[in-house]
Amino acid sequence: MSKDLSRREFLRWSMVGSAALVLASCAPKPTPTPPPKVEEKVVEKEAEPTKAEEKVQLRYQSRHGGGPVGKRLWAAFFEYFYDKNPNVEVEWLVRPEGDQAENILSQMVAGDGPDVYQLCCWQTTFFIQQGQALNLQPYINRDAEEVDIDDFYSQQFVPWILNGDIHFMPYYTGTMVLYYNKDMFDEVGVDYLPSEWGELSFDEYRETCAKFVVREKPLRWGTSNYGQGANWLTQYWLRGFGANMVDPNDPDASLLCKPEALECLEHIRQMIHEEKSFAQGAEMGGVGVHQFFNNKSIAMMEMGSWGLSECLTGAAHVEAIEAPGTDWLDFVWDLAPMWTGAGGKMTHQSVDGQGVWSQTPHPEESWQLCKEVASAEFEMLNITVGDGMQPSRKSVMPFYVDALRKQWPILEEVHLEVMAEAMTQDIPGPEEMFNNDKLCKDQILKPAFDLVFLENKAPVELICEHSKVVAKFNKGEIGVEDIGGELAKIRV
């Protein structure tokens, strides 16, 4: 055997092996293998040494706040938070682009979920439905004065109520309004949109859209949004007609078969495919609805307050990137309320919030963090040093409008009050959620919406037929494996 393994080979072999071991154990400079927490404080806190061991460690999975401005915001917030709660230490985790439901789920399965986590839209109700959100109602009731629940936009909590109890607290609210290009309106000779809620009827809106249509290149449409489909964007249209996607009294069922719903869907279909006044799937093109608006390809856009930064230069959270001057939109624009249909005033209010993990070992401290992020103080910070997101508290709204105008004088000419009014008047509403929301929307409803809205290959009755399957599945009449078969049976 010794003949086979010559000394040279043995040396070579062991050198290779140990080199591998050394490399594998190398830590990246300059960070040594760190303890899992990162101290998130700005000021050198003179923490009493005896108290250090008693500090409660929390993990907060944020969804927003990345980037230079986000960091400024959270530094300011934690200074304030640690003053109020000196026995808590928070590891603040950012998730770029907010892709984190999978990760949070994996962590929870492993028994290591974040104590406080922030999500948006269907993901919030997902975790609530999975029993992973602590019931916050007792805490809200106990700290009622501090929380001041009536200060919030009243519909904010609707998606987060399970068995009558609130399970999430708001992070911010975004109201959908109409942005419109005044120069294009002048060019075509159309009156500017009214600035009071309830003054623009649907028919007027539809007529106005039609006036901008141009069918040779460069193409032009009247309006657009991120894309009509089995999603929240079609929901506010439905509400405008007095219909709903989800039955408000029964999250198992859909109300898309009602005549008002079908009427609304037919309007949408016609605007997209026959009149060609609604640019469909602007978002699905990756080239977003913002670009269409900036390009003057559309005269109006249905967009939320979160879209303001796209129309402004030096917007707070992009200030590190934009240079002043040349990137202003080269036309005059303004905001107007959403149209009002037979169903009354309507809009969409975004559903971003944070909750407490139901299995957290520190519910009290987690609640404190959750509550403070929903506090007026945080929302003020957000306005002054943060992302500039629209607050969820009515009392903070006036400051929001003023702060925006101070930073961008151009906004003096823009009716920001439109957004404030929607909150003051409690105009509905947030995203409507089914039980098993994503499954119902993606697997059951979406194919029909694709056929009708994207490809114009089927009448709107198809959507009604698909919506019946939603209740069948949610009520347990068919299993998940039968959905394909049920849908295939549909003949319209």
Binding site: F126, Q130, Q132, D442, Q443, E481, G485
Partner: protein, 317 residues
């Protein structure tokens, strides 16, 4: 005639090199086996530590109805039976099969062609190779943003170019007929990765074989057909199998760009598995679907392995 010339060339080259064929002593064969296991230890340890557990777990989970968090109960073979009757699963399988059937041959041929072209001793060869390789490097969001713009029916580049030559472009990823071809085209754009492997394979062909063939008067085309291709078959085999495995698992583009649509035209197996698990929380069912996919791919691999004796040229071991 093909085999004959090949063998002739090989014998010639061996004679040139002065290598004689000998047989192996038997005791060495037994020691060889011991050494083999020694060499295998990294993989065996890794398999036991990291891979086997999760794989077995997946098959185990397929026997339960579970969302991992609040409910887990045994359902036996329910999901496995469901997999064969579920029409959505069937649709996903067919869609993926469509993708595989086009992108595997297409990608293989394309990559091989590019590699051969870029091996002809051109000027600035490294630069050309880098250009062709680049697309396979770009990943993630940038790619999706990019291609969504390219494919945009109204303001995208492709339809703009088509318009310039008078053709009305299709709706690309917004149309059921064109969505899958669009995604397939995107995958072809990443052929640079396989191209690299072919380049290495081409470099591995002993030049002495070419010399021998040239001495025998074989022209460019015959040298290509009788030396290059046969010697490249192990690399081709690798690329075909890896392409098969990879394309059966296509997910990202369907998830990010088309969301499985329109009307489930781009619903792929892995996308459906992902939805069933992470969005609908039927993790047991998702595992069964993954198990089905596993079997399908396994059959493809076995068939390919069996076929090697017909067309892949190895130095017999």
């Amino acid at each position: 005639m093909a085999i004959g010339l090949e063998q002739h060339v090989e014998q010639k080259s061996r004679r040139i090199l002065g290598i004689k064929a000998r047989s192996r002593p038997r005791s060495l064969a037994q020691r060889e086996e011991l050494y083999a296991y020694l060499f295998l230890t990294p993989w065996i340890i890794g398999f036991v530590l990291f891979t086997a557990g999760p794989m077995i777990a997946v098959f185990g989970i397929s026997l339960f109805r579970t969302n991992f968090l609040t409910e887990t109960y045994y359902v036996g073979s329910k999901w496995w039976r469901a997999v064969f009757t579920d029409m959505l699963v069937r649709k996903a399988l067919l869609n993926t099969l469509y993708y595989v059937a086009v992108s595997v041959p297409g990608g293989t041929c394309l990559a091989m062609t590019i590699a051969i072209l870029l091996n002809q001793g051109m000027k600035a060869q490294s630069v050309w190779r880098t250009i062709y390789f680049l697309p396979s490097l770009v990943s993630g969001v940038a790619v999706s943003v990019l291609w969504q713009w390219l494919y945009h029916p109204d303001i995208g580049l492709f339809n703009d170019l088509l318009d310039k030559i008078g053709i009305v472009g299709p709706q690309w990823i917004w149309s059921s007929e064109w969505a899958m071809p669009s995604i397939i085209a995107m995958s072809l754009w990443g052929a640079g990765g396989a191209m690299l492997i072919y380049l290495a394979g081409l470099r591995g062909i002993p030049t002495v074989l070419y010399e021998a063939a040239e001495i025998d008067g074989a022209g460019t085309w015959r040298r290509f057909w009788h030396v290059t291709i046969p010697m490249l078959t192990p690399t081709i085999f690798f690329n075909v199998v890896m392409n098969l495995i990879g394309s059966w698992q296509v997910f990202t583009q369907a998830f990010v760009m088309t969301e499985g649509g329109p009307n489930n035209a781009t619903l792929t197996m892995v996308l459906h598995i992902y939805r069933t698990g992470f969005q609908s929380t039927f993790f047991g069912y998702a595992s069964a679907q993954a198990g089905l996919l596993f079997l399908v791919i396994l059959i493809f691999i076995l068939t390919s392995l069996r076929s090697t004796s017909f067309w892949v040229h190895y130095e017999r071991v």
